[in-house]
C-alpha cells in the first residue's frame, strides 16, 4: 500500500455520536487508503461504522478526530463551499435510493454536476460513459419512466461523468433485483478496469463484494480484517466468523 498512489486516504478517523453513557463510537481510529484503479468493498455487521466511514471519506460528514485526504487535498480546514466544489470535482456518489431529480431527464441528471459548476461537459466522456452503462436509448426519459436498475445506472453515470478521484457507493444494489444488481456491479467493475476509476463500495451482500478487488471488514468502528481476490463464499465465511467473534 503505497500512500503516494492512494486516491483517498484517511488516518486516525474517530467519530462519536451522542454523549455520556449513551455515547456510541462509530469510528475508532481508522487508518485506511484506497488506491487508484482499485475496487474496494467495505463490509461489516450493522452498526460497525461502514456508512459513517463512507460519509467521512466522501466529505459529507466531519470526523471528530483524524484526517482525510482526497487526491492530494486535506479536508479539514476547508470551507463548506470548498468542500462542495471538491465533492463536485473529485467524488462521485451512488446512493441506495438512486436519488435522481424527478424533474430532469436521464441525460440532464447525468450532466447535473457540470450544470452546477456552470461548465460544458466533454461530449466524448459522456458518450463513453453512457455507452459503457448501456443508457443510450434512455437518455431523454424522466426517472419515473425508468426501471430501478436503469435509474441506478443513470446515477452511476452521474457519479462517473466528472471523472472523479473516487466513486463512493453506499449499498448501490440494495434496492435492485439480482439481475440488475449483477449488471450494475459488472459495469462498475468495468469502469475500474477499463476507465481507470477508483470505486469504494459499502455493501452487506457477499455476492456484491465478490466483484471487488479487495474487501475490508469493519467491526465496532475498527478495520478488523482485509481480503484480496474475494469470492462470495470466502466473504460469507469471513462474515460468519466475524459475527461469532462479535458475540
Amino acid at each position: 500500500m503505497t500512500q503516494e498512489n492512494a486516491a483517498v486516504r484517511a488516518s486516525g478517523l474517530t467519530k462519536r455520536y451522542g454523549s455520556g453513557d449513551a455515547a456510541v463510537t462509530a469510528l475508532d481510529g481508522v487508518d485506511v487508503a484506497f488506491e487508484k484503479r482499485e475496487f474496494t468493498a467495505i463490509m461489516g455487521p450493522s452498526g460497525s461504522g461502514k456508512s459513517t466511514l463512507m460519509h467521512c471519506v466522501a466529505g459529507l460528514d466531519k470526523p471528530d478526530g483524524g484526517e482525510v485526504w482526497i487526491g492530494g487535498t486535506k479536508l479539514s480546514g476547508l470551507s463548506d463551499d470548498q468542500l462542495t466544489d471538491l465533492r463536485r470535482e473529485k467524488v462521485g456518489f451512488l446512493f441506495q435510493a438512486y436519488n435522481l431529480l424527478p424533474t430532469l431527464t436521464a441525460l440532464e441528471n447525468i450532466t447535473l454536476p457540470f450544470d452546477l459548476a456552470g461548465r460544458r461537459p466533454d461530449q466524448k466522456v459522456i458518450d463513453r460513459i453512457v455507452d459503457a452503462l448501456g443508457l443510450r436509448q434512455r437518455l431523454h426519459h424522466r426517472p419515473t419512466e425508468l426501471s430501478g436498475g436503469q435509474q441506478q445506472r443513470v446515477a452511476c453515470a452521474r457519479a462517473l461523468v466528472t471523472e472523479p478521484e473516487v466513486v463512493i457507493a453506499d449499498e448501490p444494489t440494495g434496492a435492485l433485483d439480482s439481475g440488475s444488481s449483477a449488471e450494475l456491479l459488472r459495469r462498475l467493475k468495468r469502469s475500474v478496469d477499463e476507465l481507470g476509476e477508483t470505486v469504494v463500495m459499502v455493501t452487506h451482500e457477499p455476492s456484491a463484494a465478490a466483484y471487488a478487488d479487495r474487501v475490508l471488514f469493519l467491526a465496532d468502528g475498527r478495520i478488523v480484517d482485509e481480503m484480496a481476490e474475494p469470492t462470495a463464499d470466502s466473504v460469507l465465511d469471513r462474515m460468519k466468523a466475524l459475527e461469532k467473534v462479535g458475540r
Binding site: 465533492r87 470535482e89 446512493f95
Partner: protein, 836 residues
Amino acid sequence: MLKSLLRDLRAHKARLAMTLVAIVLGVTATVAAWVVSDSVAATLAAREQRSGVAAVVRSPGNQPELTAADRDRLSRLPGVARADGVLIARAGLVGRNGKLVKAETVPDFAGTNWVGADRFRIKDGKAPSRRGEVALSADAAKKAHVKVGDTVTVLLANGRSDRAAVTAVFDYRNLGPTVDADTQTPADRVPSVAYDDATARSLLGGAFHRVELTARPGAAPKTIAAAARAAVPSDRAVGTGAQLAAASERQADKEAGDLRLTMLPFAAVTLLVGMFVIANTFGMLIEQRRRRYALLRAVGAKRRQVRFSLIVEATVLGLIGGTLGAGLGAALGPLLLGLMRTGEDLHYVVSPTAILLGYAVAVVVSVLAAYGSARRAAAVPPVAALRVDGTIPRETKRTRVVLGTGAIVLGAVLVLVTAAPSVSNQARIVGMAGAVLATVGVLLLAPLIAEAVLNPVARLVAGRGAALRMGVRNAARDPHRTAGTAAAITIGLGLVCAFATLSATFTALVGSTTRANTPPGTVALRSAAGGESTLTPAEMSTVGSLPGVTAVAGGRDMIVKLRHSGGETQRKISAIEPAALRTVLSPKMTKGVPDLTQGAVISRNQADMLGLGLGDRFTLLPGRGGPIETRVVGVYDATELQASLFIDVARIPAPLRQSVTTIYATGPDPRAVRQTIDRAFANRPDVEVTDRDGLARQGLDEQRIAFTLMYAMFGVAIVVAVFGVVNTLVLSVMERTREIGVVRAVGARRSLIRSTIAVESIVICLFGAVLGVLVGVAVGAVLQHVALGQRLWDITVPVGTIALAIGGLSLVGIVAALWPARRAARTDVLVAIAAE
C-alpha cells in the same frame, strides 16, 4: 391509528402552523363579522324606547299640518290623559369653528319643541323655558364641542338664525324607528336642538308634525287609536305605540342584517382562500406521507381507515383553528366596532351563535378542503410502500383539460348571456357565478398553461447562469407544483385586480357623468349637512334675485315607485324646472329631446335596465299625491348611481317641491355669478356653494361607504395573497428536502441553492401574477357590469394599481422565498438523502 396521527401532527409543526393560520384567518373574519353585527343589533335594540305613548297621529308626508286645534280636539278623546303636539323643523347647529355640525339627524328634521311624555332625559342642566334658551342632544353637543352655559348659533328655515344659551344636554328617547319605515310609520329622528314649546312655535313654525297621545290608566291604546282616526282627516296616519315599537325593532333587525350582509363577503373571501391553502397543505402532506399510507395499507388498513384518519386530522385542526379564530374574532370585534362607528356607545355582544358558527365553519372548511387529499391518500396502493420511487396517481391530464375548458366555456357563456345592461338582478348573479366558474377553469388549466409558457422560457435561458437556468427549469418541469404555488398568487392578485378595476371604473364613472352632464359655468348649491339634507325654495329665490343670474333651477331628488310595463321598482328621480336641461344642465342626449314639458328624460343606463324606449309610457308613485303618468321623451348618457330620471317639477305635489336637493344657477358671466352667490351665502354655513367639479367630488364622497367596502375587500385580498404566497413557497421548499440534499451532495454550493430557489420563486410569482392580472381584470369587468349595470367593456383599467400590485407581490414573493431558500441551503446532506 389515532396515536400515529397525533404523533404525526406534532412532528410537522411548521405545516401545522401554516394550516392553522389559514383556518384561523377565515374563522376570525367570520366571527368578527358576526360579533360586530350582533353588537350593532343589540345597541339598536337597547336604544331607549318610550312606552308611555298610546297612539300617534301624524301629518301627511313629512309636512306639519296638524294644528293646535287638532291637538286640543285629540286631547279631549275618551281615555286620553294628555296630547302633545310635536314640532319637527329645520335647525342646524353651528359649531365653534363656524361650520355646520353634522349631527346624527340632518338639519331638515333636527329642531323640535320640549314637550312630550318623557321624550327627553336631561343629562346635564335644566329644560329650556324661554326665548334665548336651548337644549342640545348629547350627540350634537359633543360634536359642536359645547356644554351647558355656552351660547350657540342655530340656523333656522329661510336663512334665519337664532343665538341661545345652552341650558341642557339631553338623551333622546325614541318612539319608533329613526328612519321612515313606510308611509304609515313615522320616523322619530333624534333631534339635535330643542326649544321650549312657545319659543319653538315662534321660531320653528306653528303646525305640528305629529300629536302624541298618552292614555289614562286603564284605557286601551287600540280604542284611543280608533277614536283618533275618526277625529282627524283620513290622510293623517294613526298608529299605536306598540306598532311603533315593533317597527323600531324591525329597523334594528334590518340594520343588523344589512351590516351582516356587507361584512360576510369578507369572511367568505378569506374562508375560500383559507380552504385553498388548507387543501394545498393537505395535498403536500399526503405526498410526503405516501409511504406511510402505503405501509398502513400493506399491513391491513382499509381505504376507509386511511381516509378517516385524514378527516380526523382535519377535524382536529379545524377545532384548534376554530378555538383560536373564535377567540381572535371576539377580541377583534370591539376594535372593528370602534373603527366603523366611532364615537357611539356600543354594546359589545358575543353570542353563542357567533362562536358556534366559527367552530362549524372551521371544521366544515377543513374537512371539505382535506377531503380530496384524503381520497387520494386512500388511493395509494400498498405496493407503493415497497417501491423506492413512484408517484401517486393523479387525475389524468385529459380530465383536467376537459374540466378546465368546460368551466371556462360555460362561465364565458353565462357571462355573455347576461351581459346586457338591462338584465335583472338574478341574471347579474348568474353572470357573476359565470365569472367565478371561468376563474376556476383557469386555475384547473394552470398547470398546462405553466407548461406551455415556462418551457419556452426555460429554453430561452438555457445558456445563462446555473441558478437562472436551474430555477426556471425547476419551475417549468413540475407544472403541477408551479401551478399549485402560483394559484395562491393568482387568486390574491386576481381579487386585487378585480376590485381595483371595479373601483377605478366606478370613480371614472361618477366623475365623468357629472362632468358630461353639467356645463362648467354652472354654480351649484347644496346643503352643507350632506346626507339626505336639502335646501328650500327660499334659497332658490335668493339666488334668483341676485344680479347677473339669468337661470336658476332646483333639482328635487326623491325615491319613488316606478311602474312600467315590465313591473314595479324603486328609483331615484329628480324633479326639476324644464328650462334647466337647456341652461344649467347639459345632458348628452343619445335619443329624443330634453323637453320635460313633454315627458321624462331618462339615462341610457336606466332605460336599458327598465327596458324603456323612446315614447314608452310609465307611472311614478311619489309618497304623496296621485300617480304621475308620463312617457320617455329623451335618453341621455349617465350612470345608475345618480338620479337618472328627470321630470317636470310642476308634476309633483307642492309639498315635495319644498325640499331642494341641488340649486343650479348660471348667467352670462359665470365667474361673476359664482362670486355674487359666494358673497350672498357667506354667512350661511348650512349652504355649500360649489361647481361642476365640486359636484363630481361630492358624488364620490357620497359613495364613500362603497369605496371603503371595496378598499377593505382590497385589503383582505392582499393579506390573503401575501399569506398564500409565503405559505405555498415555504411548503414547496419543505417538500423538496431530499432533492435539495442530492443536489448539495453532487456539488451545488449553498449560494447556488439559495439563488436557484429564489429564481424559481420569482418565476412562479410572476407566472401567478400575470395569470392573476388577466383573470382579475376580466372578473373586474363582470363585477362592474354586475354592480354598476354597465356594459362589459366599459371598464377603466387601473394600470397604476395593477403595476403596484404586481411589483408588491413579486417583492413579497422574493422575500417569502428568502427564508425557505436559506433553510434549503442549510439542508444537511446526510439527513436529506437518508430521508425516506
